[in-house]
Subunit: 159 residues, 3 copies
């Protein structure tokens, strides 16, 4: 049964606005019955972090990365007009006012709709992120798996 | 007569250099007789704003957004080397020197070539942008329309 | 013999992390026997600069561009957590620790695997970059050549 349309998104960026765009496209495609994969790499991995600190052993550089990077979807900044964190608050406020789903809700919806969320294991190694630190019900893979999905897909985006 | 090649671009970014890249690709594809759609979302919408202020009723947050964001294609900054607005002046200068089309001219050419310019209605709502504030001869749609176009297209980019 | 899968990447961004992502995807695709083209435009061209200064005649604005932009793959900054150049050092350190290829090594590998590296001649003109300043064994072309490749490709990314 390989006749479903496929779409893939690489989420490289670690900003809330770009992650929202990625999930709106992914959820839209899933609603149209596409098989959708989001591949989280580099800063994009931060969208998958649990918001509470997780006790894991890390080297000093990995600890610095862990502290400097936003812990989860709700803590990410904006790619424009961030204003030291005021921008994200403004955007969250208007999204709520318009009954738009927040980023954490968009992620939840994606999981409910069967969007495959894949964490890039190579970047996890580099940034020292461990499975315990990421949300549940995601997959782990490398660039080969991404390319396998992308080669079969009609829509492939890098965000 | 559905045998024309199709291309779509999501213009998410609000910077002049990225918008120029989007329109050069779009105009190139249109010259090769592709059916091209640019879908303007988030900060990319600013490329479609009229350069003169338009009198419309707005809430206070929407008024702040309207003031903070660049009013039209000619006022956008660069993603690199912006230098508080000096960078865009330098780039405009060299583009003129090389007889390259400016961003406003590229947009005009795109419209002449039948490139479909689509403003994302969901982002317009969020940012409080109204139709009167955007240039003429564009379309308005949501993510579903984008996905419909993208699923039929050979080249789909997110910029 | 046109049955090889094709992939294209536009590398627009001038940051090390994005260039690394582009080359990891490109090298992965080449390993799977795809015909891969990376099209370097705008700030992405800096990844192709030789690291030593090259004596060429330039106008004053082109000289400023040449000085302000990173000279080659090893000098590029990060899109996030750059910290005035400390970020790239940290990333290079962890990449070395994990035996990951550095960006210059990834570029070399790409050339060995036959990935086609294409410098955008229009941007070279604008930024005043000359062939002598770029690494060897690359090609030179414009948007038309890119579109020709992209229309035949399954995976097209803009990074």
């Amino acid at each position: 049964m390989e006749n479903k349309e496929k779409s893939t998104i690489v989420l490289f960026s670690g900003e809330m606005d770009k992650a929202i765009a990625a999930f709106i496209i992914a959820n839209g495609a899933a609603a149209y019955d596409h098989e959708v994969t989001i591949f989280f790499t580099f800063w994009g991995l931060n969208a998958l972090r649990k918001d509470a600190p997780v006790k894991v052993k890390k080297g000093w550089l990995e600890s610095i990365f862990a502290k400097m990077m936003p812990r989860g979807a709700d803590k990410m900044g904006l790619s424009k007009m961030n204003f030291g964190g005021l921008g994200p608050k403004m955007i969250k406020h208007v999204m709520k006012k318009h009954n738009a789903l927040s980023l954490p809700q968009l992620i939840e919806l994606a999981q409910e709709q069967g969007v495959k969320l894949v964490a890039c294991t190579m970047t996890m190694d580099l940034l020292g992120l461990q499975k315990e630190e990421l949300i549940d019900n995601i997959e782990y893979a490398g660039v080969a798996a991404y390319l396998g999905d992308a080669a079969d897909a009609k829509v492939n985006l890098f965000i």
